[in-house]
Symmetry: C2
Subunit: 242 residues, 2 copies
DNA sequence: TTGTGTAGTTTCGTATACAAACTATCGTGT
DNA sequence: ACACGATAGTTTGTATACGAAACTACACAA
């Protein structure tokens, strides 16, 4: 029963999450210079934990640091988005496939394992929370819920490594998602339920395809919005043609 | 003309690289408890930069930290290796394809760009260095050269994002590679030249295939060596059957 | 305009101190 | 003998202060 959110956690973890949120939701626009002293003052802590938080965010790709020159918020990876979506498609297709495979195995072997059932329950709750958020037009809640869904599927896949890899790019996924949530948020969210249904049914091929399409649609929507014109030359996956 | 290696760089960067090396090459076996005080004493610096280095290594997945309980070297991702190779296959197939595509574009448009030529020259040097290392049986040099080759291909692809993503898992790739270098190192290295040749020729399909096979062979070799018996249940890619 | 020098700012590292939380050891009770 | 809990020791997490090092920006001269 961990807090899951940052409430009274350790200062370093807290400010790290806060800064990341500020970056993701635009309070700290790309290119902004962030100084240790200012952050320390803002969050009422000393500079040491701020430095460590910045090192973590640097490794996550949210800020860029030059020795003795300080840190700046990374540029939104607009032109890199295509690559990110490409990797994500490969990664998440795999998690969906394995999750479906594992779900079938769980039901075949009589009693589902405790941790599987736990993860499955969490996923159901996330889905309900998201539906409620959509119903109340609280689209600002979707970015985090979206990440929790996709990480939940990864958990369900049983692969610690796939989960870890997805977690590594989860922040940037959320970042991109937040910039596009008012356009494709509702539609995108509704696709989650059918993905989970396919996983539950144990149809791994179907789950994989649905997840691939889901990510692909996010990609198309994003690239369309920011009108990146290079999608004709290098599109890596002609998953389906009209 | 940056140092490229850690010689008189900033202490934090230096110890970060040192600790990572010690982990990769087995001086710090998985499960080892690393205390800040000990590291600070060993490298002759204070605790603050040590802590920052540990935070970076934590984000890279080399150490795991629990609040107030310290850091331990992560377990070798033997059981996760399969997933890592899977992602790598997707990632590096893409870099090879794009690198070939870009190479063709460079030659088509008369004069190659300066940075492309630079990257291409570095890659040639790495290849020669590796051949020399193989000739002198200095297999211990191969892990780093291997990473430099693959990152070099990513550079050549021109995609900053693919490069960044590959860099994120580069450390773990090197870790796995180092455990297997005496078995498959020479054979694996010889494949690099043909990959680069395919890229140079501009044959993107061929380059992609060769890279995919190259990574796939690494995967098979690794899983075979450590005789992971679960490859029957969850093998993600039945690429070819005997 | 271009180059250079200087002042100011910020990061980086050190040292010290103390509170908080974990780990391991040792006893006690059943 | 074994499980359980208190306790001491260790380690981390944070605060604070200070100095050195390096980058940035601005002014000035050729």
């Amino acid at each position: 029963m961990q807090p899951a959110d940052s409430e009274d956690a350790a200062p370093r973890q807290r400010v790290q999450d806060e800064i990341r949120r500020d970056i993701i939701f635009g309070a700290l626009p790309p290119g902004t210079r962030v100084t240790e002293a200012a952050l320390a003052a803002k969050y009422g802590i000393s500079r040491v934990p701020v430095r460590e938080a910045l090192r973590m965010l640097e490794a996550e790709g949210f800020v860029e640091s030059k020795p003795y020159a300080g840190s700046t918020v990374s540029k939104i990876p607009v032109d890199d988005a295509e690559d990110l979506f490409f990797v994500r498609e490969a990664l998440e297709s795999a998690t969906a496939r394995r999750a479906a495979h594992r779900a079938a195995a769980q039901f075949d072997s009589g009693a589902p394992s405790v941790e599987w059932w736990q993860a499955r329950k969490v996923l159901a709750a996330v889905l309900d929370e998201g539906d409620a958020a959509v119903a109340q037009n609280r689209l600002d809640l979707l970015p985090e819920l979206n990440i929790r869904f996709h990480l939940g599927v990864a958990e369900l896949s049983g692969s610690a490594s796939l989960t870890a890899l997805l977690r590594q790019i989860a922040g940037k996924i959320e970042w991109l998602y937040a910039t596009d949530v008012d356009r494709r948020g509702k539609e995108s969210w509704s696709e989650h339920r059918s993905i989970l249904a396919a996983i539950d049914s144990g149809n791994s091929a179907n789950a994989e395809q649905l997840m691939a399409d889901h990510v692909h649609q996010s990609k198309v929507g994003y690239l369309d919005r920011f009108s990146v014109d290079k999608n004709s030359a290098l599109s890596p996956e002609p998953t389906f043609a009209p």
